[in-house]
Amino acid sequence: MMVGGIDSDKLVNKAISNGILSKEQSKQMTPQEKLDLIFLPGLSTAEKVSEVSGRGVGMDVVKTNIEKLGGHVELDSVLGEGSTVLLRLPLTLAIIPSLIVRVEKQRFAVPQVNIVELVWVRAGEVSKRIEQLGSIDVLRLRGKLLPLVRLADVLRIKMTFVGDETLEPGEERRHRIADRRGGDFENLDQEHRVCDKDRRQNWQNDFNILVLRVGSNQFGIIVDELFETEEIVVKPLSRFIKSCKCFTGATIMGDGQVAMILDAAGISTKAQLSFAEAETENQKREEERLVTASNTAEIRNVLLFENNPEETFAFPVDAITRLESFRISDIKKVGSREYFNLLGKSTPLLRLENQISVRSFPEDSKEAFLLIPKPSYGRAGILASNIVDAVETNVALNQDESESRGVEGSAMLNDKLTVFLDPKELFSEFESFEGRK
């Protein structure tokens, strides 16, 4: 009788009787790991051995060959129903766009296909955004928890840091990601950071996090520095380093140096990331969120930013394409209009204080951010002195008829009065206003 799906217990028994697995090991295995036994060479649950079946070769060959091409195989199966085999193959086999990152003195290439997003956590926010969940560190990212590892830890690269006073590199002493050094970074104010001398030191304590995707799981790795994306030529690894599962290949950089290409799947295996813990926690929080959400109508995904440090604004995330950080001195003026050169295009600058009745941008700032909206909303960039956070919220807005056009309403968010902007209104107002000038 044909029954769909893979009997993972049968696999485990077979593996134990073949001596591949011990009984103790099998008890600690997750259902997925049990299922993945099918990829081991020499394992077959077929009762009858014929010329083609029951030799324990099939899935092993599939996995080896797919991985040889730089892809990977995922297996999902429900006993009695059926199995899904997911083959992921890279688009091109020879040249892949990759992001170059640095850890200590080494550069690594991370294939873009594995990267979901880049997250920058400032030193002062580390303890707020990175938590410990059981044995793992997790990053709080838009309300979701993401397992987090330091790439240096996974690759066992000795970590150094530049001492606060001595400026001499020393061996890293912190063990947990959320552990902080003595300095009081929490209260580091923003003006302090802009000062050139201090900035480098403080930036060193910021975290550059790459959110990587492996199959349906995501996790974050911390690197020291991010460089550009490059198209790299993948060179296979010699068999002497094939055993390092963290790499899929090597490449030669523009300066002739060799850089290793990181393998997201290998890193997550090596780091023994447990997605289950974060997943359960996420589900729990998601349920809580839904319960609260059902009470109010709308969930907003907003970016919080400041124009004047006294006031916080919320702007819908889905109306933004990117954020740009720049120096105030780079602003070009034509008459009373201001422009900023963004990727070769002059982009009009929208100052909130000119549109709605709010306090003005601090005069003494040297650096600022620009919120670039999606073209369907408008083409002006909104000036911001500071980006606070991206949050999901379901607060009810206080709407007031007397609000200026461009403001949707206001609400208390994290004990701060936050003005919610209406992008459509704001930009149409700005454009008609500019046209009058």
Partner: protein, 152 residues
């Protein structure tokens, strides 16, 4: 029955020889990119004219302390080596470089002059050697390339 040429080099004080027909080139490309978490004796990768080559630290391979890279250090690039191949062509094998402390000269010996290796020379396991030969004032240990490139 014939004469074999050996490229000789030193690791510490001990002199070694490697069959010159197994050597592709000897150079000073020592700009190594370390491979984290690789085998101990794999000290990194180099870019040799666009080809990525795995480089071994011969000292570590022999169970000795790590080599210091000095101005005398050299990289002996071997011809691609393939195991269990019946033919002599080296197509498809991996190219490996060996870091040595200093390069000496080429010594030519009659194969009848090569003696069986002792169980060990200094602290080096005899299995890494195919034999020893005497020169005027030195004992040269001859490398067993296959054994060195073998993976446990």
């Amino acid at each position: 029955m014939g004469r074999i040429s050996f490229a000789t080099f030193r690791l510490g004080k001990q002199k070694y020889g490697i069959d010159i027909s197994k050597v592709r080139e000897i150079n000073r490309s020592l700009d190594l990119t370390p491979v984290p978490d690789a085998l101990n004796h794999v000290c990194g990768l180099i870019n040799l004219r666009g080809q990525i080559i795995t480089v071994f630290d011969l000292n570590i391979r022999f169970g000795l302390p790590k080599s210091d890279i000095t101005e005398k250090s050299h990289n002996i690039i071997l011809k691609p080596y393939r195991f269990n191949s019946s033919d002599d062509s080296h197509e498809g094998g991996d190219t490996v470089g060996l870091i040595v402390d200093s390069i000496e000269d080429v010594a030519e010996v009659d194969d009848s002059e090569i003696e069986a290796p002792p169980a060990n020379i200094g602290k080096v396991d005899g299995t890494f050697l195919t034999g020893v030969m005497k020169t005027d004032n030195d004992l040269v240990a001859l490398l067993n390339v296959g054994e060195i490139l073998k993976q446990e």
